[in-house]
Each structure stands twice: as structure tokens, then as C-alpha cells.
């Protein structure tokens, strides 16, 4: 078995194992949040792993008052913002797809229409401000509750609802222009 102990930053073995468990529990939603925000698989992988490394280095400061993901998300969000600031060119790969039960492969015309819709939706989402994209991803794609989003973003539930409403409205306008 591969050794469990990573020598730095002086965490006990039990804390390291706890951290490994937390990574495994949260890696998927961390990845999907970053994927929605950055629109790139490679960037999402890189940024979420870097955020976990930073969380690991500061794990002693995590007091358990907040949920781990809420604490981790603040690190992830900063890295995503830095990534967007430094990005030279926009990502052009598809990162959205139809849910399996919503998609028929039988008719080619329908498949083309669906592909076009995905492209337009993705473009519209990419054009949204970071804050709007963030709530759309957390609610509509990640299916977090309003309370969870309020905790993650550190804002009241009412503000989450309001932000979502206006984000959807902007998305609808952008999508309408494209379709």
C-alpha cells in the first residue's frame, strides 16, 4: 500500500486521512463548480486540485464551524477568478450536455438541433458575469439548495433567490438573441 503520510505541513496521520476523505467526498462538486465557472475540463482539474492543496496547507485553520465545502469553495473561487483574469483565450470545448433521459439519439435532425442549443446555451452562460454564472451553476447544474448556496456565498437566502432570478433573466435574454 502506498504510504499515507505526507511530511508537510505537520498534520497528524489522522488529520491527513481525514483530509483525504474530505477530498474524495468533495472532489466531484468541486470539479463541476469549477467546470461551470471556467468551461474547461483541464482548467477545472488543475484549479480544483490546486485549491485542495491550498486547503491542505491551511487545514489546521479549518475549525469545522462551516461545512468543509463552504470553506474550500472560498479558496476555489479565488483561484477561478485568478484563472479567468490571466486566461489568454476563451475555451472552446463543450462542457454541457443533455441529461441521458432528455436526449434522443434516434433522429439526426433532433441531434443537430440539440447540439446547436447546447452551443448557444454555453455561449450565453460564458457571456454572463462571474457572479451570475456562479449562482446558475450552483443552483441549476449542481442542484444546491438556496440555504446551501447562501452559506457558500455568505449571503442571505433572499439575496440568493434575487441573484438567481436576475441571472436567469439575463441568460434568457442572451439565449433569445442567439436562437
Amino acid at each position: 500500500m502506498r504510504k499515507k503520510i505526507i511530511e508537510d505541513p505537520g498534520l497528524s496521520v489522522s488529520l491527513k486521512e481525514e483530509f483525504e476523505m474530505l477530498v474524495k467526498q468533495n472532489m466531484r462538486r468541486a470539479y463541476f463548480s469549477a467546470l461551470g465557472l471556467l468551461g474547461s475540463h483541464d482548467a477545472a482539474m488543475d484549479v480544483t486540485q490546486e485549491a485542495f492543496i491550498r486547503a491542505y496547507r491551511n487545514f489546521k485553520n479549518f475549525n469545522g464551524e462551516k461545512k468543509f465545502f463552504t470553506w474550500y469553495y472560498s479558496i476555489l473561487k479565488n483561484l477561478c477568478l485568478n484563472f479567468i483574469r490571466d486566461r489568454k483565450r476563451k475555451n472552446e470545448t463543450e462542457y454541457i450536455e443533455f441529461k441521458e433521459n432528455e436526449h434522443s439519439q434516434n433522429r439526426s435532425s433532433e441531434a443537430i438541433e440539440n447540439k446547436e442549443l447546447i452551443e448557444k446555451l454555453q455561449e450565453a452562460i460564458d457571456e454572463l458575469d462571474f457572479d451570475d454564472r456562479e449562482v446558475i451553476i450552483l443552483k441549476e447544474f449542481e442542484d444546491h439548495t438556496y440555504k446551501e448556496i447562501a452559506e457558500i456565498l455568505n449571503v442571505p437566502v433572499g439575496s440568493v433567490m434575487s441573484r438567481l432570478f436576475y441571472a436567469r433573466k439575463k441568460l434568457a435574454v442572451k439565449l433569445k438573441r442567439k436562437v
Binding site: 461551470g36 492543496i53 432528455e102 442549443l117 446558475i136 432570478f165 436567469r168
Partner: protein, 147 residues
Amino acid sequence: MNERFIILQEKYFDEELNAEEKAEFKNILETNNDLQKEFEEQKRIKEVLRKMKLKNPSREVWDSYWMGIYNRIERGIAWVVISIGALIFFGYASYEMVNAFINDTQTPPLAKFGITLLIFGALILIFSLIREKIFTSKRDKYKEVQR
């Protein structure tokens, strides 16, 4: 925009409206055409989003995810150790070089003065670059965004 309408609408989408709120929401929609239109538009975009999901990477990606983090931490530690070792080595080498330079009787004083100025200038340049880097990093406007 009517804040109450927004709250009721969001609750409606999440099927969290109680009977009283349902009646209130229905009444708002029946009496206000603009809000009715807003609701229809929001419903349409919700319906589009409901059918979509973010692409899931292959199983191998998840299987190797933790190992990716583990390797990066391990390599980070390796770089720290290498940096400390290099710092000690070059510190010692510099000390020995300065000693040899001071005790060297073969080099003419003017050449020694020139070399001293050259090294001193280079040190000022390095110090200035490091200070600028630290200054820029402290003023990074995204660094503490909504932490």
C-alpha cells in the same frame, strides 16, 4: 422587481410553497400581467436548464484524482527541500568566494573595486525586483475577493 414575487417564484420552482403562499402567488400572477410574463420567461429558461448537465469526465479521472493531489503536494515539498539545500549551498559558496576575493593579493585593487561594484549593483537589482514582486502580489485585487 417585486421581491415577494421573486421569493414566491423561487419557492414555486423548488416546490416549497405552502397552501397560503400558493394562493398568494396565484393571485399575483392573475393580477399582474408583467409578472406573469416574467414568470413564463423564467419557466422557459428553467425548462432548458433542467434538461442539461455538466459533462462528467471518465471514471479514470476520478480514480486518479486524489493521487494527482498527493503527487503535487509531494513535489511541492521536494521543491521546498531543494530550494533550502540550494540556498545553503550557494550561501556557503558565496561566503567562500568573498573570503577568497578579499584575501586575494594577485588581483589589482582597481579590478577588485570594479567587481565589488558589479556585485553590489546586481544585489540592488535583485532586491528591487523581489520587492516589486511582493508589492504587486499584496495589491492583487482578486486575492481576497469575497473570502
